[in-house]
Symmetry: none
């Protein structure tokens, strides 16, 4: 039995004409062990699909409810945005989910998708876009790293 439930690794899978993709086996295992379901939505910040367990969304719902007023405009906007876009995805006996046209379009995915672990969440990218994004992130980190170090000690590398 697993102790830690985090989405990790980067896995490429094919997307067929129906939009079917195998959810990486390890992701499936997590969802099963948590006795939860997958929820996907369009990322707000990047051209990719984002996914998490339904449990996490449930927590988010609770948080929105407690931190904003029942009749407030903010609660209205937030819930519309989050839950209006999200959708449950149950996987079949072979471990596949069927992504919607809306999601695939937003991520620019046609016949191949790449799953990127993000801990409690994961993302699904068009592989080419992800390659660029990963490069950007890595260079970004390298740019920031010396700055952070200088502040603390004296800089390195």
């Amino acid at each position: 039995m697993r102790k830690v439930f985090l989405f990790m690794d980067t896995i490429i899978n094919k997307v067929d004409a129906k939009g079917r993709v195998s959810l990486p086996a390890d992701y499936r295992a997590i969802v099963k062990e948590l006795d939860s379901e997958i929820v996907c939505y369009r990322s707000l910040t990047a051209p990719c699909i984002e996914g998490c367990t339904e449990d996490l969304l449930e927590k988010l719902a609770a948080e929105i409810e407690t931190s904003t007023d029942f009749f407030s405009q903010t609660q209205d906007d937030l819930t519309n945005l989050v839950f209006g876009d999200a959708r449950r995805f149950t996987f079949d006996s072979t471990g596949r989910i069927v992504l919607t046209e809306k999601l695939l379009k937003h991520a620019g995915i046609t016949d191949t998708a790449i799953f990127v672990g993000k801990g409690r969440k994961f993302q699904i990218w068009n592989p080419e876009n992800w390659a660029k994004e990963e490069a950007r992130i890595r260079s970004e980190v390298m740019k920031k790293r010396p700055v952070l170090n200088t502040q603390k000690s004296g800089g390195e590398a």
Copy 2:
């Protein structure tokens, strides 16, 4: 069996001359599993119909009753409006509810309706109006998001 009961996704359905609409299958599943019923009322804040399970309204009522400190006059008025306007909608064997003229008029719905998940609640819009509303919300959030981030750390694209 489902653990989490949240209305999600955005689904377009037709409204026939009798005012009949199919409640999205997933919404029905939630209502059934909660062994509850659908309640709809005119949204107080937007030109749309709002719906939730009877259970939620029950909770709201209970909260008002048990709340020690008196509610403000406005809040009281709001709850009056909601409960006064709300009505049960049972769906038939094919999963349809019959919306009233009053509700349809308030939302400007004629032959097509779009269901928007909001977590514990959902909304029913005229598709065109919803398109505008969604755009408004997205731009609103994009404006606010950087602000929220700057307060915490240093902001991000």
